[in-house]
Amino acid sequence: MIGNAPFFVVGLLFLAGLTAIFMEKNLIKIAIAIGIISSAVNLFLVALGYRAGGTVPIHFLAGKETLMVLPTPQAMTLTAIVISLATTAFLLSLIMLVYRHYGTLDVDEIRRLRG
C-alpha cells in the first residue's frame, strides 16, 4: 500500500491541475495549472522508474551492487522537464502578448475567434 503512495499523490496533483484549468479565469493561473499537471506527470514517471532492490544506474556511484534500475524513466523525465520548460516559457510570452493586445487576462474575454 505504501508503495503506491506516490501514485495517489500523482493523481491528486493531476486532478488539482485539471480543476484549476477549469475553475480559474486568470491566464497566468491557468499556465501555473499546466505546470502542476506536468509536474504530476514527471512525478509519475520517476515513481515508475524504481524497481525494488535496485540502485542508482551510475557506474561510479553504485558501489558493489550489480542490480541497477533502468535509467530510461529518468531520461524520459528530464526530456519531459525540458519540454515543459519550453512550453511554459512560450505560454507566458503568449500571455504577455495577449495582455498587450486585449488588455485583459480573463480567459472568458479572449474570444474574438468563435463561431
Partner: protein, 521 residues
C-alpha cells in the same frame, strides 16, 4: 557504407541541420535564405522518395540511432530493444512522401509570401523544426520518441501560428492551441509511462509483442486515442483547428495539414500495430467511426456558414479528417474477421489511406490559393472579394482543380477515394454512406459559394490594381496541382504502388513486430 541503409537517419538529419543552421545563414541575405529553405526541403523530398522506393523493394527499413550497426535492434542478447529505433514500413513511407511534398510546396510558397516580414531567420528555423517533428512522428518506432516528436512539432507550430505577433487573433489562436495541446501531451505521456511501467519497454514493436489487454492498457489506449484524435481535429475537440489554420501564414497552414495527418498516422499505428486484434471488442472501432461521422457532418455544416476564406477551409479540414477516420475505423472493426476484411474492410482502408494522400495535396493547395488571394488583395473576408478570376487566372485555375477535387467531383482524385469509402462502408451500415454523401454535397455547396463570391461576379474597382502572384508562389501551388492531377489521371497506378502496400503494411501486425523483435509474434 551504403547510403540506402541510412535514409531514415538522413530524413531526420536534413531538416535538423536546416533548423540549426538557419539563423546563421539568414544573416547572409535574402537569396541565401530562400535557397536554404527551398533546397533543403527539396533534398528532404528526394530522400523521402528514395526511402519509399527502398521500402517497396526491400521491405521494412529499420534504423537504430547510435547502434553498432544500423539494424542491430537487440544488442548483446537483450530481450527488449533499448535504443531509439526508427521503423519505416510502407505506411510510414507513404505518409513521409505526403508530408515532404507538402513541406516542399509550403517552402516554395513561403519564399515570396513571407518576404515582407521581419524575423525570417526564426521562421525558417521553425519551419524546418516543424518538418522534422512531422517526419519523426511518421518514422519513429519508439513510443516516447513519438511523444518527443509530437512536442517538437507542437512547439514549432505554436510559434508559427503566432508568427504575426502583432495580430491579436493570431496570438489568441496560438494560445488556445497551446493550452489544449499541452494538456493532451501530458495525458499522452501518462499513457506512455503506463505502458513502460507494465512492460519495461518503450519500443512499439516490443510492447505489441507482449501486450495483454488489461485495465492499464485500456486506459493507455483511450488516452492515446483521445490525444491523437484531438491533434488531428476530430469533432468535439476540433475548435482549435480552424483558428490555428486560419491565423497561421499560408505556407505554414499547408504544412500543418500534413502535421495533423502525422497525428492520424500515430492513431492508426497504435490501433493497428500496437493493439491489433486484442483491441477489446468493437467499442474503440465504433468510437473512431462515430468520431469520424460527427467530424464529417458538423465540420462541413459549420463550414457552409463561414465567410472568412481560410477559416472556411479550416472547417473543411475537420470534415475531411472524418472520411479517413471512417475508412480506417471500418478497417479496424473487421480486423479479426477475415471474410469481412476481404469483402469490404480492405477497400475501406484503401479508401481511407488514399484519402490521406488526396486530402494532404488538395487541402494544402486550397490553403496556398487562399494565401495567394490574401497576398494579392490583402483581404481575407469573402464579403469583400469578387471578380478576381480576370486578374489572377493561374490561381483561379488551381483553386478550381482543388475545389473540384475536395468536393469529390469526377474525375478528380477526391472522387476516387470517396467512391472507395462509399462503396465499402455501406456493408457495415448504410447510414455511414448516407452521412458521407451528404457531407460531400455540402462540401460542394460551400466551395461553389467560395468560387462564386471570390472569383466570379462583376469586377470591383478596389481590385483594379491586383496582379497575379509572384512565380515562387505559383510554383508552390503548381507542385501540389501536379500531385492532384497525377493521382487523378493514374488512379490505378497510385493505388497499386502507394496505397495498397501501405494498407497491407497497416494490417500486417506480425510483420511490424517481427522486423524489430526478429521472428514472429
Amino acid at each position: 557504407m551504403n547510403w540506402n541503409d541510412h535514409l531514415p537517419a538522413l530524413l531526420l538529419m536534413i531538416p535538423l541541420f536546416g533548423a540549426f543552421v538557419a539563423p546563421l545563414v539568414c544573416l547572409l541575405g535574402k537569396t541565401t535564405r530562400n535557397a536554404l529553405l527551398v533546397g533543403l526541403s527539396f533534398v528532404t523530398l528526394l530522400v523521402s522518395l528514395l526511402l519509399w522506393r527502398n521500402v517497396l523493394i526491400g521491405g521494412i527499413a529499420i534504423y537504430v540511432m547510435g547502434g553498432e550497426s544500423f539494424n542491430l535492434t537487440l544488442p548483446s542478447g537483450m530481450a527488449l530493444p533499448i535504443r531509439i529505433v526508427m521503423e519505416v514500413d510502407a505506411f510510414s513511407a507513404f505518409m513521409v512522401v505526403c508530408g515532404s511534398v507538402a513541406s516542399f510546396a509550403g517552402a516554395l510558397f513561403s519564399t515570396n509570401y513571407m518576404e515582407k516580414f521581419t524575423g525570417l531567420g526564426r521562421f525558417v528555423s521553425l519551419y524546418f523544426l516543424l518538418t522534422l517533428g512531422m517526419l519523426g512522428m511518421m518514422i519513429t518506432g519508439d513510443f516516447f520518441n513519438f511523444f518527443i516528436f509530437i512536442e517538437i512539432a507542437s512547439i514549432a507550430s505554436f510559434g508559427l501560428v503566432a508568427f504575426w505577433r502583432d495580430r491579436p487573433e493570431a496570438i489568441e489562436a496560438s494560445l488556445k492551441y497551446t493550452l489544449v495541446s499541452q494538456v493532451g501531451s501530458m495525458i499522452f505521456l501518462i499513457a506512455a509511462g503506463a505502458l513502460y511501467g507494465k512492460y519495461n519497454a518503450l519500443n512499439m514493436a516490443a510492447i505489441g509483442s507482449l501486450l495483454q489487454f488489461g485495465v492499464m492498457e485500456k486506459i493507455a489506449l483511450v488516452f492515446i486515442i483521445g490525444t491523437l484524435a484531438m491533434k488531428c481535429g476530430s469533432f468535439p475537440m476540433h475548435m482549435w483547428l480552424p483558428d490555428a489554420y486560419a491565423e497561421a501564414p499560408s505556407g505554414v497552414s499547408c504544412l500543418l495539414v500534413a502535421v495533423s495527418q502525422a497525428s492520424l498516422y500515430g492513431l492508426m499505428r497504435v490501433c493497428f500495430s500496437l493493439y491489433g486484434v486484442n483491441l477489446g471488442g468493437s467499442f474503440i472501432p465504433w468510437m473512431i467511426i462515430s468520431m469520424g461521422l460527427a467530424s464529417m457532418f458538423f465540420g462541413v455544416t459549420m463550414a457552409v456558414v463561414q465567410h472568412e476564406i481560410k477559416r472556411l477551409i479550416g472547417y473543411h479540414s475537420v470534415s475531411q479528417v472524418g472520411y479517413m477516420l471512417l475508412g480506417l475505423g471500418v478497417g479496424l472493426l473487421v480486423l479479426d474477421d477475415a471474410r469481412g476484411m476481404a469483402e469490404y474492410g480492405f477497400t475501406a482502408m484503401k479508401g481511407g489511406i488514399f484519402h490521406i494522400f488526396n486530402y494532404t495535396m488538395y487541402k494544402a493547395l486550397l490553403f496556398l490559393a487562399a494565401g495567394a488571394i490574401y497576398y494579392a488583395t490583402g483581404k481575407r473576408d469573402l464579403n469583400e472579394m469578387g471578380g478576381l478570376a480576370r486578374r489572377m487566372p493561374f490561381t483561379t485555375a488551381m483553386f478550381v482543380i482543388a475545389a473540384a477535387a475536395i468536393s469529390g467531383l469526377p474525375p478528380f482524385n477526391g472522387f476516387v477515394s470517396k467512391l472507395l469509402i462509399y462503396e465499402s462502408v455501406f456493408a457495415v451500415h448504410p447510414a455511414l454512406t448516407v452521412v458521407a454523401l451528404v457531407t460531400s454535397v455540402l462540401t460542394l455547396a460551400s466551395f461553389v459559394k467560395v468560387f462564386q463570391t471570390a472569383f466570379l461576379g462583376p469586377e470591383k474597382t478596389v481590385f483594379t490594381g491586383v496582379r497575379e502572384v509572384p512565380s515562387g508562389m505559383l510554383f508552390g501551388m503548381g507542385v501540389l496541382t501536379l500531385a492532384v492531377l497525377g493521382a487523378t489521371l493514374f488512379p490505378s497506378w497510385t493505388l497499386s504502388n502507394l496505397v495498397e502496400p501501405a494498407a497491407k503494411a497497416l494490417v500486417d501486425q506480425a510483420g511490424y513486430i517481427g522486423a524489430v523483435m526478429g521472428g514472429g509474434l
